[in-house]
Amino acid sequence: ACGGSSTSSDPSAASSGKPDEAKNAAATLRVVVPSISQFLGQPFQAASPPRAESTSAIFDALTRVDNTGTPVPWLAKSWNRVNDTTWQFSLRTDVKFSNGEPVDADAVVATVTTLLGAAGTGSVAKLYNPTVSGATKVDAATVNITSSKPDGVLPQEIAALYIVPPKYLAEVGMDGFAKAPIGTGPYTVTSISSTEIAMKANPTSWRKPIIGNLQIKQVADQTARTNAILSNAADINTLLDLDQIDNVKAKNFTVFPLKNQAVFLLQFIASTGGSKPLDNPLVRQAINYAVDKDAVIKSVFQGLTTVASQGTAPGTTGHDDGLQPYPYDQAKAKDLLTQAGYPNGFELTGVYSLGAFAGDKDFLAQAQSDLAKVGIKLTMKQETTANMTSYLLKGQWPADMFTTAYLTAPTQDATKAYSFNSCLRKPGSWCDQTQADLISKALTQTVGTPERAETLKALAKAIHDNPPALFFNNGLKVIAYSSGVAGYTIDSSTNTSWETVYFK
């Protein structure tokens, strides 16, 4: 049933013998996660982790995006672009929801229609697929999804559009659904709260699981999460503190570094051509040269990831492997600053919300200490997540830079991240017209075509040369689980194949 493109985190799993079925059926897999979806079992809002663990246990979408950024068949067997604004999907016919409703064109149409309506405010249909304008049934197993503008990446975008049973949804409504979700995945929910989800195996699923029960528990504190697995209070920690890698490895836990297709950086609030220091491309380059990011990667990340060279991570559609990260070169940085007219440096302020990404604290400390050496005095101020969000949406910042991540989920396409952080979003924090034009162009071109590849290559170079941010690292999410767990796989879109997990 597996799409075949997921990363197996446990190479031994494939070769090892058959799991003990009876033992596994009675067992409970305990997973600790940093937070559970605020929307409980409702899968349409916020497609990024942490909720990926529970949604991939309960739901399926028409497509999945694999580790190379390519859409692969999932509930849809195949698809093709009928015209600029229409994509046609043909569905699997062997899949049923856990309540018995069939997965067919009606279900897809109902799901899309519901999300486009009032009930879908803030849902993926409006946020990630702003172009999706409707769905029509062609026959029971074929459905057309239309977009309001030409949309070349729609098959990737709908990887976050989980299909739900229409009759049931109509019956219980969106709120009722959140409390008792029903899908096609390997597990069904027995109880759900904002802190804990208890699930049991769904024997009728097309992805029938091995382990009888799945428990997902929210443990916000990273140390507590580590302690949870170390003290055998949990089997899997989906987000391990980088500094614990050695430690848990030494205790015989499996540590799996997942490259999660995000880039972490300190975003400049600037626009090319403005009059502030940061509006000057030379200054922005200088800042990238000045900071020894490699030192942090080596010592904090233990070399498990790399310094970012552009706004996307390797494996993302549109990532240019040929581009090199800015090397640590303070002399060059000083040079550039002098060229730009700031030989004595200047002062900068930044805001951050802690825990936004792994190693953020270390990067910030490194940036502060290195920038000081080239005369740039960086003052960082911590903000709540709520404030950061608010600044982001209003486009008004009490600072010159802020920490953020360029996320490509769920499409794993460069345009996703770039468009959000460009002139295309208003009010935005960063604007460079050349880059914005390239993004617009790539958005309409059909995914996989050479023309599009060319546009994306030019875009990547533009981002690299005229950096909108101080690039830190390519995303890394470290997962740790006990040595008793086997067959645990997760892809870079954080889809977990729960059906293959078992206790040895």
Partner: protein, 303 residues
Amino acid sequence: MATSGTRTWRLLPRGVKSSLYWLISLLILGLTVWKHGAGHAEQDIRSRLQGPSAQHWLGTDGAGRDNLQELLHGLPWSVEVALLATLIAAVVGTLVGVTSGWYGRWWARAILRLVDFEVAFPFVVMAVVLIGVLGRGTLQIALVLGIALWPLVARVVHGETLQLREQEYVVYSNLVWGNGLRVIREHLVPALLIRVAVVSAFVFGDVLGAAAALSLLGIGPSLETSSWGNMLADGQQYLNRDPWIALSSALALVVLLVFVNMLADRLAAAASRSGTAATMTEVLAPAEAADLDATAPADRGAR
């Protein structure tokens, strides 16, 4: 009034005086360290998380800073915030306690009820809310902790004022001056000073502990600020592999707190011997102790 200060000093028992000398020497130490500079010790990310060595006696932290240096850098902030908060608590608490105790009108009682509720209200929760709004600067944190702890002072001062108010010498003074403020200045404030000092010493300890706790919740001072709480919060994650960071800051905190508590204890003991009767019970369970006196039947039949 000028002489009443020296009078008070003359009356202080030896224990109090020596405690005060200790306190002052602590402050001088704090100031010396202050010169050491705020902010962090030098960082070198490549030598992070090292155990104790000849070069780094207490090892290094996650950013590669020397833990011992970091401790020295962190002390000023912790002392500064504790002093500020204690000062706020002591001043506000004394003002409110004296006025509510002395005037005892409806608004004074209302303030006191507020104090009661505030005491009853978990202060970490209040701190979480207020710091969320006010921000995480030193002043803000001190303010929040001060706000959280002034009721403690107010209750003690209030109770003491109520008692003093009934003292015949105060009644007499009020009679001849016909001016409450004057009486407060001449008799109450000097009488209350020692008690406020005792409570403040306890508050000081509380603030030190609480400030560190805020860091654990992620609402302590921001990262540029070097503080023991931040060290502890930071070290907490390495506790099971590199316990040095957490342990050194925890130990430093424990030593400082034990010191402060001992100071407070001696002050309290000395104060109670000197006849102003400040015992642990009254400091730590002040309102109830006062309440009990009020509710116990006024027994005049036996006279």
